[in-house]
Symmetry: C2
Subunit: 287 residues, 2 copies
């Protein structure tokens, strides 16, 4: 493959940004990688692992010479991070991100760009329990979905180059509108998180005759609440930035939960069996 960008600046060289850096380097898709961070500790690891060529805590230094900027910090910090860099960026810089909501990001970031710049939103649906530059690995995205969400003003050439970059990771790259992405992820990712966290919250202090009920749960309770251990700040931000779609997803869940509740209250065995069967079919379909 040939060079796509001369300088990639990654803001937040963590699991996602660091893993992408490994692929970009291996295939020679970028000449130089700069890492922008808040503290030296993680950047030191990124340098020592060869993920980046230069580490900096300074937005201006990170911006200079970057024809590709990748925002890989928590989503709500994107606007301030980008705003600090824009004055120092080359005029045709492409800005991309790896955030898990897309419409909000487009709405917030595009007004910050100069007219000659272009934003191309991306959401790599990949993650692990681990984080930071030390956790980065080249195979993280293999066979995972990476959603590219061009806006009305994204430069088509820039979109192509970003897709080429991500395809090199072995991911399944797919294109869709930002609001379609957000509606899908609200259902497939944000809803399960809230359901798991609400279940964990409900049981947090639930005692029966002096016994903590959750202690009597087995593998089912553990599986169903596993993702409730995810970082609260990250999920707060997702809820704040994908509010409308999440509200719709919660309403969908409430409707179906209500059908189970009605069937329990009515002691309706046929309805219960049908509902549990519907759930089982869906579960078998996702594998």
């Amino acid at each position: 493959m040939s060079i796509l960008f001369r300088q990639l600046t990654i803001c937040g060289v963590g699991l996602i940004g660091g893993s992408l850096a490994l692929t970009a380097r291996k295939h020679g898709l970028v000449e130089r990688i700069v890492g922008l961070g808040r503290t030296p500790a993680n950047l030191d690891i990124a340098v020592s692992r060869g993920l980046i060529d230069l580490a900096t805590l300074d937005a201006a230094q990170a911006a200079r010479g970057a024809d590709l900027v990748m925002l890989a910090t928590p989503v709500m910090t994107f606007p301030s991070t980008l705003a600090a860099m824009v004055p120092y960026l080359p005029r045709d810089t492409v800005v991309t991100d790896v955030g898990s909501v897309k419409r909000w990001v487009v709405e917030q970031l595009e007004p910050l760009l100069k007219p000659s710049m272009s934003f191309v939103g991306v959401h790599p649906i990949a993650g692990k329990e681990t984080s930071g530059a030390g956790a980065a690995e080249e195979t993280l995205f293999a066979n995972r979905r990476v959603i590219v969400t061009p806006s009305a003003t994204s430069n088509p050439g820039a979109v192509e180059k970003i897709e080429t970059l991500w395809r090199a990771t072995g991911a399944r790259v797919e294109r869709m509108a930002p609001q379609v992405h957000d509606a899908i992820l609200a259902r497939a990712s944000h809803l399960p998180q809230i359901v798991a966290s609400a279940l964990a919250s409900a049981l947090a202090e639930e005692n029966v005759e002096g016994r903590w009920a959750a202690e009597f749960g087995a593998g089912g309770l553990r599986d169903t609440t596993r993702i409730a251990a995810s970082p609260p700040e990250m999920w707060r931000d997702i809820c704040l930035t994908n509010r409308d779609a999440i509200e719709q997803a919660l309403k969908l869940y409430r409707d179906w939960s209500g059908r189970f509740e009605d069937a329990v209250r009515a002691g309706d065995g046929d309805a219960l069996k049908q509902l549990f069967e519907r759930g089982r079919r869906m579960r078998e379909r996702i594998g």
Copy 2:
């Protein structure tokens, strides 16, 4: 250990009943084990694995000589199974079970017994994806909780013997009232099941612009819906036989889910962070 019962008759020699048989035999806690089933196939496996000495499809034959009867079929079949055996049971027979609801079982079974008999309810909180006599294993209950739920009329001596039998499996045996058991399990087991199944049901046919949303879920969706693949008939029966406690648990969940929903709608970052933190603390506590 010394002999507790001369003849144990297990109705339904599956994962739970079969595993208990292995322990009872190993420690010489029963002299003879009879298996009652509906079809020969599973009983043949039970005989060939040495779980039982005699296999029968006949309730009368299974009943004769049994000073301990263990009901290990689906809960809602307990009354008819026991009723068919009672006329042929010795007068002091102890009847026990392994069902996952307890108050309903006590209420249904005790009226069927002769005054000299005694019922001792038990719920071993253990399970695997597998089932049947072929899946039985001696270590299934090691370090698992086994809840013994004596009723007002359970014979204290019989309760002791049942507890001794279960302790031999390496389980943590605990005693509580049937309705306390049911309230705890409604929260720790039945609620997660309904939450997982309702989530799976909600997403079963949910498309966004022609794409099936659930296909874009990652590990989080898979974990959270894993137990939705459980047998619908079993969960229908649990919902029908532990209705009141499950209704309470669903209400508890609805309250907390509503707090998440209110915070999303209000865009209340502080409330969201606190809610996700509460969920995370609970999840870390169950490990």
